[in-house]
């Protein structure tokens, strides 16, 4: 029994193809004016990594401050700004674009057998909007920051604080349009750009997951945009729409904001789930169990996701009946999520499992996402929510889903497709180590926070009662380990660009169309338009392909 499925070409003779999307044109302008979805994906990859490390540095400051019960590293006002900017940067500038704008951008056209996304110029525009928004956010941060939390809760954001709410709001408004354009592009591409034979139910589940996420981006983000416009108008002109003194209602802001921001968590997690499908299937050599159910569960999450927003507002004065209904609907979201987890487990069952790095990250995802998801049910239940909301329990819950889930999935996908994107393998052993370090560091950081939350430690305070210190020390120590876990990939992935082994077309022996072309791909992706004549994840088809290759060489 083999312990790996990696099959690389003979390193002494193999070369990275001379002509590929990276080498086709040279010079900075050829990148800045490119229409190629693969180049734009790389631009995005660099920019979101940059923002991830800014957000990560802010997280480090938060954990350092919380090492001791007093507020001693920074003033309490500064602490408010640090956690606000951490949330804003991580959510709008890392998590929302993370998988869709990089891996989705790169691989959706390839998986569909298309030459590019339907609207290449709009794709490039979306990156420029992202960069403009990012610069504006950094400007806001460096000229005083914002301290409303990432939620811009009214009336705090409109009447009480005197920080850069307007600049930051505009930055997110612009970043929102970047996200809308990405989602719009994906939907059009998936509808109109599929290769011959690529029916809806032959698409990889990665594409289905992105389709669902794109629906959310297109329908949800404009509502956030108008909510932020109203906040800016309320601050500048004093229009009164969120001002109780003039008859407005601050809760209206919450409704509009969470109408986007709850679906936004599915924008963040669904593409990650898409990655897990590809990885689990490839490294257990089996078709994803219950393909159709998994495909529809993505769409179901997108649909249900629009009808649960008020569970963020249980303690904010919505009516008891609304709480009842939204609590019930929230439970419903657990169903399609569980469908996915169970189907992945069944995919593993009797599969030929190997433990390459992407698979390790995926296992991390499955475990941590399950914990994060189940604690979400605690919070969806109004009785426990009233006790747990605004405590560290909530912080731990969404970090389990977002960091333990989405970030693990992002790293799984990045390692999985790295050979295709760059033509070179990452070093296997050290990356397996990084995956394990990340997992351990993550649990050390965030598991204590569940306990802290249950004990009643509130979120968003720089100081806390001394009896909570031991768990906070654990959490800070874990964050240090986690930081190492995130630095390692940056180092060895950069190293691998030059020194990594030559990957060849299909190092994992995976079935997707993206693996049936050279690595790194040509600008046009395929020499001629591929014809899809088999189901997704059809490993028998792949075997037959290989037999034919051998026959023709012989």
């Amino acid at each position: 029994m083999s312990t790996t499925i990696i099959s690389l070409p003979d390193q002494s003779t193999a070369r990275v193809p001379k002509v590929n999307y990276l080498t086709k044109e040279n010079g900075l302008l050829s990148w800045l004016l490119t229409g190629d979805h693969k180049r734009i994906a790389m631009l995005y990859l660099i920019s979101i990594s940059f923002f991830f490390f800014i957000g990560g540095a802010l997280a480090g400051l938060i954990r350092l401050e919380l090492l001791t019960p007093q507020s001693d590293l920074m003033a309490t006002d500064t602490y408010n700004k640090v956690f606000s900017m951490h949330g804003i940067i991580m959510i709008f500038f890392f998590l929302v674009p993370s998988v869709p704008a990089t891996l989705g951008n790169f691989f959706i056209p390839m998986m569909l057998g298309a030459k590019d996304l339907a609207l290449p110029k709009v794709n490039l525009l979306s990156w420029y909007l992202y960069v403009a928004a990012g610069i504006l956010a950094l400007y806001a941060m460096s000229t005083g920051g914002v301290d409303t939390g990432w939620t811009f809760t009214t009336p705090l954001s409109t009447h009480y604080v005197n920080t850069n709410v307007i600049t930051t709001g505009l930055a997110i408004f612009i970043a929102g349009f970047s996200s809308i354009f990405t989602g719009l592009n994906f939907i059009v591409t998936i509808h109109k750009m599929r290769a011959p034979g690529m029916t809806w139910f032959r698409m990889p589940l990665f594409v289905w997951a992105h389709y669902a996420a794109s629906i959310l981006m297109v329908l949800g983000t404009p509502v956030l945009a108008i909510a932020l416009v109203l906040v800016v108008l309320e601050r500048t002109v004093g229009i009164g729409v969120f001002d109780p003194a003039k008859g407005g209602d601050p809760l209206l802001f919450q409704h509009l904001f969470w109408f986007y921001s709850h679906p936004a968590v599915y924008i963040m997690i669904l593409p990650g789930m898409g990655v897990i499908n590809e990885v689990i299937s490839t490294f257990s050599r089996k078709r994803v169990f219950g393909y159709t159910a998994v495909a529809f569960s993505s769409v179901a999450i997108a649909v249900f996701g629009f009808f649960v927003w008020a569970h963020h507002m249980f303690i904010m004065g919505v009516s008891n009946y609304a709480v009842l209904v939204f609590s019930l609907l929230t439970m419903l979201v657990a169903v399609p999520s569980a469908i996915k987890i169970f189907n992945w487990a069944f995919t593993l069952y009797k599969g030929s499992i190997t433990f390459e790095t992407p698979m390790l990250y995926s296992f991390g995802f499955m475990g941590l996402f399950t914990i994060g998801g189940l604690t979400g049910v605690f919070l969806g239940t109004s009785g426990t929510d009233i006790h747990l909301t605004e405590t560290y329990f909530i912080v731990a819950h969404f970090h389990f889903v977002m960091v333990g889930g989405m970030l693990m999935a992002f790293l799984a996908g990045l390692h999985f497709w790295w050979p295709k994107m760059t033509g070179r393998m990452y070093p296997e052993k050290i990356s397996q180590l990084a995956a394990v370090v990340t997992f351990i560091g993550f649990n050390f950081t965030f598991f204590p926070q569940f306990v802290l939350g249950t004990l009643g430690m509130p979120r968003r305070y720089a100081s806390y009662p001394p009896e909570f210190q031991i768990l906070n020390v654990f959490s800070t120590a874990g964050a240090t380990i986690l930081g190492v876990g995130y630095l390692l990939p940056v180092l060895y992935l950069t190293w691998s660009l030059k020194y990594g082994e030559i990957a060849g077309n299909n190092p994992w022996q995976a079935t997707g169309l993206e693996w049936q072309t050279q690595s790194p791909p040509l600008t046009e992706n395929f020499i001629e338009t591929p014809i899809m004549d088999h189901e997704a994840y059809d490993y028998e088809w792949l075997e037959r392909q290989k037999e034919k290759e051998v026959a023709s060489v012989g």
């Binding site: 298309a114 030459k115 590019d116 339907a118 609207l119 290449p120 709009v122 809308i180 719009l184 592009n185 939907i187 059009v188 591409t189 509808h191 109109k192 750009m193 297109v218 329908l219 949800g220 983000t221 404009p222 509502v223 945009a225 108008i226 909510a227 109203l230 108008l233 002109v237 004093g238 229009i239 009164g240 729409v241 003039k246 008859g247 407005g248 209602d249 209206l252 409704h255 509009l256 046009e524 338009t529």
Partner: protein
């Protein structure tokens, strides 16, 4: 006889590889390109609906809460100008539709004329809107800028309110008229902003149409802009009754 199928085959292939200059490289056929861009435009309009949807929601809620204030405040809108603007906008949609038809049937001068007319009607709409806005400014009905509730606590002092026979509102309810005017300005302002963007694009299109850009078979841009223009028109078709009409006789 035996050669002819081969020739046909070759001709077909030549036809297949011969793309019109406006076909982007990543599309297989021009039909696919048109389908994709049209579909993208519809999706974009969907996001616009969601964008305006936030404002309509706010309107719905506050109208229910502060019904008397909304009735009294809506009496202040000028129905003559509002109706005129509706007529102007519907006419502009007609001229725009004519423009799309001219582009499809390759009538260059017809297209330029239609676009110019649409452009002018758009400007007329904005002009009338300016008159209406300046009326509001004169009466201090602009929320946030020295807003005055005089017309609502003392309707007899205001000729418009007096003409409707409005009853004086209690002080706190009269204050809520500011919300109505905010929603009025936000919704019509956002609509006007879309008009301004549309007019700017129209200007560019007139310039390009005179050079014959849209009458050589590539009409997607005109078509998609037409969709946008009609969408902006339809937004007004909802705004006009909600803001001007439904409280006329109360």
């Amino acid at each position: 006889m035996s050669d002819s199928p081969v020739i046909t085959q070759g001709a077909l292939e030549a036809a297949h590889h011969e793309h019109p200059p406006y076909q982007r490289h990543h599309f297989e056929t021009i039909g696919q390109q048109n389908d994709a861009t049209n579909f993208a435009m519809w999706l974009f309009l969907l996001t616009e609906i969601m964008f305006f949807g936030g404002l309509f929601t706010a309107y719905l809620i506050y109208r229910n809460w502060y019904y008397p204030a909304f009735v009294a405040a809506s009496h202040q809108l000028n129905i003559v100008w509002g109706s005129a603007n509706t007529a102007v906008l519907i006419s502009s949609s007609f001229t725009m539709a004519m423009g799309v038809w001219c582009a499809e049937t390759r009538r260059k001068s017809g297209l330029v004329l239609a676009l110019v007319l649409t452009f002018l009607l758009g400007l007329v709409f904005l002009g009338i809107k300016t008159i209406e806005y300046s009326e509001k400014i004169e009466k201090h009905h602009v929320p946030g800028f020295h807003y005055s509730i005089q017309s609502f606590v003392n309707p007899a002092s205001d000729p418009v309110a007096a003409a409707y026979g409005d009853k004086p509102l209690a002080l706190d309810m009269a204050g809520k008229t500011e919300l109505y005017f905010f929603l009025y300005f936000a919704m019509t302002g956002m609509h006007a902003l879309h008009m301004i963007i549309g007019i700017a694009i129209l200007g560019y299109m007139i310039f390009r149409a005179r050079a014959g850009a849209y009458t050589s078979g590539h009409v997607t841009f005109v078509e998609n802009f037409g969709l946008y223009w009609h969408f902006v028109d339809i937004v007004w078709i909802f705004l006009f009754p909600l803001l001007y009409l439904i409280s006329r006789h109360q």
